[in-house]
Amino acid sequence: MARAVTNNRKIINTAAAWAIGLLIFFPILWTILTSFKTEAQAINDPPLFLFFDWTLENYAVVQERSNYGRFLWNSIIIAGGSTLLGVAIAIPAAWSMAFVPSKRTKDILLWMLSTKMLPAVGVLYPIYLLFIKFGLLDSVIGLTIVLMLINLPIIVWMLYTYFREIPGEILEASRMDGASLRSEIIHVLTPMAIPGIASTLLLNFILAWNEAFWTLNLTAAQAAPLTAFIASYSSPEGLFYAKLSAASTMAILPILILGWFSQKQLVRGLTFGAVK
């Protein structure tokens, strides 16, 4: 229920929300600003905020030195592929957990989630060996599979939560109407869950896009996505803050734009099931 809030209260609340929002966004803002400075300005003391000579030089240098397009393409393929593959596998799994639960369903869900609590580095060695064995090192396919597996528990959980909100009677009605299991999932369940599936896709695309541990450890040159592109500007050539910032900005820009246009879906996705 909405509570009556005085005007003063409202102003204070709004100001506080903006302050917190800016605080959280500040590192990204600073990265973007730094990307337009020269290397000297970037390490200036005191730091320069808005008043410096804006330049696009860093972007030109970064683009010249490395093939941004290739990294971007790898990111899109790996993040998109792993998300789509994950959702395709997770829909039937979430269907069975939501609509034909067994005594162990809750345990299985928790067990799946518990795999996310293990530090990734703990399984780096076995996965690395597997990758060598199957010739998957530095391959887009290998990375897509690994990221899909890494995010699968979250995808299943999210879809399970959405599916639980769909009245079982509607699925029963489709069964009475002669739908096979396949038709039931394709014609009834999936279209009804589209908002939920969309936010799941979105969130997992972002998670896969930002994933750095596996992408850095399992790729070299061929399959390297944007995370590797940023990393390549950090240490090997000394700290060039402005160029690093330009590379970072280029890497996060696509996902930032995507997030901006889909924030409604994202918020809905993240708070789904929290309020009934």
Binding site: I170, A173, R175, M176, G178, A179, M192, I194
Partner: protein, 334 residues
């Protein structure tokens, strides 16, 4: 053909036996109503017939062939749910077309059947709307339309009217009744409302705790209830059940007298009591009479013009040939 036979069918959920083994036959073209209080297993029984629940033991025969393990999609039955269970993302037209699409019926034929169903159910103007844009009554009609187009062996209705308001309920009751007359297809209808059961059924199946208490036509159940439970459940207002010395006079453990089978007078009568509440319906008046020495309250149905007030002492005479007698186990004594 839509005969449905249940042979020793039972259902247990975990350790709980919801339906002990029961036998039941519903004849082709019959309108059968399952009625009983909440939790009596009537919906479970319907879901067993639909195939939405698996039977624990026993055999189910639909249309002459064994259907015990046949999945719901293959049983050739159509179901109308309490919540309507329409597909919210599809238009009314697509909702109605869905079972035909699943059956692979030719699109032109689909269109003809949709038009026919829509005309019969007053839905022609709403075919392109989504279920969310319809009223409760219209949604229920769409659910019925979706059921009739596939020309099923039998219709299953699971409390289809309980989400509608009283006026609409009476209207839809008649529409379903007329539909049954027109299609002459087997219908099984689940309700907790004995008025719906009485007005619609060819055959009523009264259930309590998963056990069939009696099967019969509405008037059979009204006139010769097999036991105290059926006597008390069928009829509105409910039958007066009297135990003790008054019952013993009739050689019974319990006697039952319907409110409409008691005459009231100011003067002489078999029993007497004090009027508690008088409910004036216009056509009838229901008197709830206390201090009779028979039961806590005796309900009497009198013509509308009979007027007694709260606190009046009145006399009552049950019609002797309409007194029901039951033994100590609650079974009817003929």
């Amino acid at each position: 053909m839509g005969q449905i036979t249940l042979e020793k069918v039972s259902k247990t959920f975990g350790d709980v036996e919801v339906i002990p083994p029961l036998d039941l036959t519903i004849e082709d073209g019959e309108f059968a109503v399952f009625v009983g209080p909440s939790g009596c297993g009537k919906s479970t029984l319907l879901r067993l017939i639909a195939g939405l629940e698996d039977v624990t033991s026993g055999k189910m025969i639909i249309d002459g062939s064994e259907a015990t393990t046949v999945p719901p999609a293959k049983r050739g039955l159509a179901m109308v749910f309490q919540s309507y269970a329409l597909y919210p993302h599809m238009s009314v037209r697509k909702n109605i077309a869905f079972p035909m699409k699943m059956a692979g019926i030719d699109p032109a034929e689909q269109e003809t059947r949709i038009e026919q169903a829509a005309a019969a159910l007053n839905l022609t103007d709403y075919l392109d709307r989504k279920p969310g844009q319809l009223s409760g009554g219209q949604r229920q009609r769409v659910a019925i339309g979706r059921a009739i187009v596939r020309e099923p062996a039998a219709f299953l209705f699971d409390e289809p009217l309980s989400n509608l308001d009283a006026a609409l309920r009476v209207g839809m009751r008649m529409e379903i009744g007329e539909l049954h007359k027109k299609l002459a297809t087997t219908m099984i209808y689940v309700t907790h409302d004995q008025v719906e059961a009485m007005t619609m059924a060819d055959k009523i199946v009264v259930l309590r705790a998963g056990v069939i208490e009696q099967v019969g036509s509405p008037l059979e159940l009204y006139r010769t209830p097999r036991n105290v439970f059926v006597a008390g459940f069928i009829g509105s207002p409910t039958m007066n059940l009297i135990e003790g010395p008054e019952a013993a006079k009739h050689g019974a453990h319990t006697i039952g007298v319907r409110p409409e089978h008691i005459d009231v007078t100011e003067g002489e009568g078999t029993w007497s009591g004090v009027v508690g509440v008088a409910e004036h319906l216009g056509s009838d008046t229901f008197f709830h009479i206390h201090q009779t020495g028979l039961a806590e309250t005796i309900t009497v149905r009198a013509p509308g013009e009979v007027s007694f007030k709260h606190g009046d002492t009145i006399h009552m005479t049950p019609r002797p040939d309409l007194i029901h007698k039951f033994d100590a186990k609650g079974l009817r004594i003929e």
